[in-house]
């Protein structure tokens, strides 16, 4: 018997890996008490899209705006010093969060897309050892988010280089059988997602990075889905660039992170030109600031950085290993529940092993938009569509899917609500 929503806590105590005191964690997120239309409590299963924000993040941002607001690095007054210190402290927190060897290697961007575009663009402009030309190859995978496909298409088109990609196996993993044919002496860049936003697959990043480094390629990792739900260690993974976004790690929108290996960042030309990224400017030419400021033209997202710092403190206090265990437990429970629904097919790995919390699925005879509409009428928020991963959908012969994605605040009772909601959806559309 599945527990009813009221008994989620009881079930939770029985389940291995769930965060202890889950109700205390949930109380940190004010939005989780929202009542939606017709009195349904919010069941938020769209965290791969954006996570909800704990009170400490909201408070840190409000406090900064109320008490410390000033521009950074340029204002010489007391508030300027406070604001600069808060901004740079966030950089320290990010560096520690991903085990970056140096805080200077942490660059704040607008989001993960901008971080990936920064790498692809500056590589397109690079001269010397990093220069990419005709005959060179960039390798990505078929499970990338569009933001880790399009920048590389643009780069290879502009440089006359060739874009290649890893295919996917039927069970939603990277097909590594032809890795030695794909990653060759011609390969200049290998860019891949750590965790798929659609299939949930956790990719063997360190293994692929090892092979890429053997041929001298640069390894770029999209950690947008990894950073929220598992420990990320750029040294252990031995990658060269890593991107993620604040709003998926309980932080605010408007700020992303690019980490890059110092020697590579120093070799790359600037991205955007403007204030803060210069050493000196003459009318004829300019010289540039050192990293990270070389890549941070203009007033940065200051209060957003403060929010990101608070988010990282929050996650670190819980412990990313514990968040990971929680995600695995909830994902396993969800996969088990979904498998009981006739006509439902999960796209991607069928077990929680090496799998993130995003679960995309389809139901015979009901379009994903209609599934999400009916779920929404019961307060259950999921995403429907191609999730910015059209090629991966095409690979599995589907146009779109419904995606439920959990996070550290998700309870087994909410998964029960999803399963019940899906059974209701089938009844509504009279599908057996």
């Amino acid at each position: 018997m599945r527990p009813s929503r009221d008994h989620g806590e009881t079930k939770g105590e029985l389940m291995d890996g769930l965060l202890p005191e889950l109700e205390v964690i949930r109380a940190d997120f004010p939005i989780l008490t929202r009542q939606l239309a017709d009195g349904f409590p919010l069941v938020y299963l769209d965290s791969a899209n954006t996570s909800q924000k704990p009170q400490v993040v909201i408070d840190a941002m409000v406090d900064h705006l109320e008490r410390h607001n000033a521009n950074v690095a340029r204002a010489m007054h007391q508030l300027g010093a406070e604001s600069s210190a808060a901004f740079e402290e966030a950089r320290d927190k990010v560096a520690a969060f991903i085990n970056a060897p140096s805080r200077d290697e942490v660059i704040f961007t607008k989001n993960a897309s901008e971080a990936l575009n920064l790498v692809a663009n500056t590589l397109a402009w690079a001269r010397g050892p990093l220069e990419i030309g005709a005959g060179d190859e960039v390798v990505i995978t078929e499970m990338e988010h569009h933001s880790n496909i399009v920048p590389w298409q643009l780069l290879t088109e502009r440089k006359g280089a060739t874009l290649r990609w890893f295919g996917l196996t039927d069970d939603g993993r990277l097909d590594l059988s032809n890795i030695d044919e794909l990653i060759t002496e011609r390969t200049k860049v290998v860019s891949l997602t750590w965790v798929s936003n659609m299939l949930g697959t956790v990719n063997p990043v360190a293994e692929i990075a090892r092979r890429a480094h053997e041929v001298g390629a640069v390894v770029v990792v999209d950690a947008s889905q990894a950073a929220p739900q598992m420990p990320v260690d750029v040294v252990a993974a031995d990658v060269d660039f890593l991107a993620f976004t604040a709003h998926k790690v309980t932080g605010p929108t408007g700020i992303g992170v690019l980490w890059g290996r110092r020697e590579l960042l120093e070799q790359l030309p600037p991205f955007l030109g403007g204030g803060e990224m210069i050493a000196t400017v003459k009318m004829e030419r300019s010289t540039y600031a050192g990293i990270p400021h070389k890549f941070e033209a203009g007033t940065p997202p200051i209060v957003e950085a403060v929010g990101l710092g608070a988010a990282i403190d929050y996650l670190s206090a819980i412990g990313m290993d514990n968040v990971k265990a929680h995600e695995e437990a909830v994902t396993g429970y969800a996969l088990e529940g979904l498998s009981t629904i006739k006509g439902l097919t999960v796209l991607g790995p069928q077990t929680a092993q090496n799998r993130g919390g995003a679960i995309a699925f389809e139901i015979d005879g009901i379009h994903p938009h209609d599934v999400s509409q009916v779920l929404d009428s019961r307060g259950i928020a999921v995403r429907a569509g191609h999730h910015c991963a059209k090629p991966a959908h095409k690979r599995y012969g589907v146009q779109s899917s419904t995606r439920a994605s959990s996070y550290l605040y998700t309870t087994p009772a909410e998964i029960d609500a999803l399963i019940e909601g899906l059974e209701y959806t089938k009844k509504y559309f009279r599908v057996d």
Binding site: H367, H369, D370, A384, H386, K390, Q399, F429
Partner: protein, 162 residues
């Protein structure tokens, strides 16, 4: 949230048994429209006879993939425009557009919209309005391509497949 206002029986019927589905010859214009945010797609062919104000919509054929709202809207639209003159069909399009953009405040005219009145509830779900309009936009695009080609003196012969 009134789901039944959105998913009227008429809509579900058209979804399960779409009218005029499939791509047919002859046709003078074929268009492919997508809804980039959700991925709904429609390939639509329009076959017109005659010219100017007396041009008649002889056939609308399509291959579409998408949600119940977009599929039913395509089926209803084909029902509504086939056999009408282009000005008549455009007037129906205007009426349907006004209904969809009316945020639920527009009273639909069954004389004009027939089964299309079932979409009145969709107007209350802003995220779904674009689903209902996808095929109408495709039809309008294809129709203006045919008429444009004719006014420009380009021979708009039927593209019969061998």
């Amino acid at each position: 949230m009134d789901l039944d206002a959105l998913y009227q029986e008429i809509i579900l019927d058209h979804y399960k048994n779409p009218h005029h589905k499939g791509l047919r010859d002859p046709y003078e214009a074929e268009v492919h429209h997508v809804n980039p945010t959700c991925g709904d797609e429609v390939t639509m062919r329009v076959h017109l006879s005659g010219e100017g104000d007396v041009a008649v919509v002889e056939d609308v054929s399509y291959d579409a993939e998408g949600c119940s709202i977009s599929q039913a809207a395509t089926s209803v639209m084909a029902d509504l425009v086939i056999g009408k003159t282009v000005p008549e069909a455009l007037a129906i399009h205007e009426e349907f557009l006004a209904l969809m953009q009316g945020r639920g405040a527009v009273e639909p005219d069954e004389e004009v919209l027939e089964d299309g009145i079932a979409f009145a509830g969709v107007a209350k779900f802003p995220a779904r309005v674009k689903c209902a309009l996808l095929s109408w936009m495709a039809w309008k695009d294809a129709t203006s391509q045919v008429l444009g080609a004719r006014t420009n003196g380009v021979a708009a012969e039927s593209k019969e497949q061998s």
